[in-house]
Symmetry: C2
Subunit: 114 residues, 2 copies
């Protein structure tokens, strides 16, 4: 299962959201989803692992899961391909409107098309 498929499941995205705050043990994650059985959560974690989205570390008797930021690189790469065009669109719009105001959110460095 590739990155995009792994991310297509809401539960797995929620798991990643939890892990984005801090690493958590498998059991902790399972308890965060009471409607999911232990093997069920374990399956989700397996998919996330195989997609390279999480990383496991053994600590005592626990398996501590942490987010692997690099695992999101494929999505980021795919998306930036579009972001370039997107921002080009927005830039054109801004230029057209000529509001003269800066982007309030001041997104990360607006990489222009090379």
């Amino acid at each position: 299962m590739d990155t995009f498929e792994a991310l297509s499941d809401p539960t797995r995205r929620q798991v990643l959201d939890l892990l984005s705050r801090q690493p958590r043990a498998a059991g902790e994650l399972g308890r965060a989803f009471p409607s999911t059985s232990q093997p069920g959560m374990s399956r989700h974690l397996r998919i996330l692992r195989e997609a390279g989205l999480v990383h496991v570390r053994k600590q005592d008797r626990h398996r501590v899961y942490a987010l692997r930021w690099e695992g999101l690189a494929p999505v980021d790469a795919w998306l930036s391909k579009y972001r370039n065009f997107w921002e080009a669109e927005l830039d054109s719009l801004e230029a057209f409107l000529d509001s003269g105001k800066a982007d309030p959110k001041s997104r990360q460095a607006r990489s222009r098309r090379p």
Copy 2:
């Protein structure tokens, strides 16, 4: 079907890739995927439409599809949430390297909310 599910299919991502270059008529897209039937492509386009990823315009007897950049906003938003942490990680790493501190393997213990 939500945005992430719509993007989980490789064919649909390829369609978006084509549309990122220029708008195309439905038939044109269909011909780009010879192994897909006409109703088959039409179904994919429907999913992309309902996910807000493409936009249709009637031109003569053709349906011209174009990418809706805003449709990718949910993915971008979701991803930037992580990109911030990602960059924070890199920053922390830099800070760590600058300060010449302890064990470099304690990476995962360090993810924290800003």
